[in-house]
Symmetry: C3
Subunit: 202 residues, 3 copies
């Protein structure tokens, strides 16, 4: 189940990368690189920080092939993707929930502190987009005012460890927390929840 | 002693990150991330390059908690920080001296060549600001004309290895070199010392 | 032979970095950093991704000294480099061929899949320029429309593994593939071959 959602996540993140790259008028190679870092950049950074090398996608090339497939689909159907905006958003949201839990899991595997695990979950789920924005020469969307995104991963991560502390089994907990993140994100978009921007008196 | 200065360094670098982030109108999450990379980005990059994983802050969360504290303090007192400009500059300078030596120490621990150790000291002390500027979509201040900064780390590092070669004990040497870097930086700012910009005839 | 070409590659990539940095009006330290990442950024990223730490240049400082030499030469002769444009382009092209094979070799050494090896070759040969452009606050040239560059590394890498599969010895294969990449690149520039930019109907 997690595995299928994981694959859908990579696929959708790749498509969103393709759209960003087309928007920036990059060439075919650029489109592929942006799709790649959007989908796998967060997980790659996580692997490097914890010392899990060669990084994940080098040992499981299915991810790379799914990204190539995602690029082809996105390029062929680029003029129709607008109509799929709602489905894409839904899958992106599923990706957010699944990736956060995958990141947390990796942290637990390495025996790291809950705070670090939550950080790794957040990096896995949201830093691909940050690297994409750096490559596209923009201030990362993730850091600017907008509907909350990474913050939801953090809150979801905290929920995971509270439930774990209360004795909930990990597999059930992962399901519940993923769903919590997904629903939270849907509500955040629906109600336009955002974090405040701090201003300074001049 | 080093430990207290280290903590002050993280705290002050986090505050300077918060101010940069507010200036860029980032949201609360963005403010925290910029504070984090400004304070710990250099050390994290150093750890990755030498293969010290999980990277440092994952094994000593005090750094993360100090950054959170730095964010809170900086946000609450943001309208008064201008008046503290001099104290902030002083602590930033102390951070420069302390971080350089911490980086050199890590290099020695890993049995690396003096040139590499000096590079690691410079990265530890000054590359957090470089990553901050990349995230804020600016050409890193570190690379542009301005009062010398990273260059002082390099000169301090050379001094450290000259004194070491002359037989000075490491703990005394660290103290002397840190002080040298701090005083050098204060003088550089006072006298506006900067490196030349190379121009080309067109 | 490979070693001499490797040194020439680092030297030329450093010079091209210096020119980019001068163009951005960076100071002396900035010039050195940009020369460094242009020459060694791709290989460093490769080393980190496969877990080869301390990264390569830390164990063989000759690379660093060649970059320093490249900086000095480039700065002293900066007003004459335009006249050497053709020689520089030739060496850059040799670098492309040599670096791709060095990256592939490292991947084989670590027992990685051909697809990963080709990726590592491409990263080694072309991602230094990408990091340079990020530091200079530009959308990486590598990702934008222009004469094909990274794509040639990929095609060369595929050729290498086809020839390997057919039983060709690695040392001969490396020579042939390098030459193929070099000639391919020369032809690409001569005939202005580029990848298409995908556009979207609005």
């Amino acid at each position: 189940m997690i595995q299928i959602l994981d694959i859908i996540g990579v696929f959708v993140f790749a498509i969103s990368g393709v759209l960003a790259a087309i928007n920036k008028k990059l060439d075919l190679f650029g489109v592929f690189i942006i799709a790649f870092v959007t989908a796998l950049g967060g997980g790659t950074l996580r692997d490097v920080l914890i010392g899990r090398m060669p990084v994940g996608w080098m040992e499981n090339l299915n991810y790379v092939y799914i990204i190539i497939l995602g690029c082809i689909v996105a390029i062929v159907f680029r003029n129709y993707l607008n109509k799929l905006r709602v489905s894409l958003f839904l899958f992106d949201t599923i990706g957010l929930g699944v990736y956060t839990l995958i990141g947390i899991e990796k942290g637990l595997e390495y025996g790291l502190h809950p705070t670090v695990c939550i950080t790794l979950g957040t990096i896995t789920a949201s830093f691909g987009g940050l690297i994409r924005d750096i490559l596209c020469n923009e201030i990362p969307l993730l850091l600017r005012k907008g509907t909350i995104y990474a913050t939801i991963c953090i809150i979801g991560g905290i929920l995971f460890f509270v439930l774990r502390f209360l004795g909930l089994e990990d597999s059930v907990n992962e399901l519940i927390t993923s769903l919590f993140i997904i629903i939270f994100r849907l509500m955040a978009v629906h109600f336009s929840w955002s974090l405040p921007v701090i201003t300074i008196k001049s």
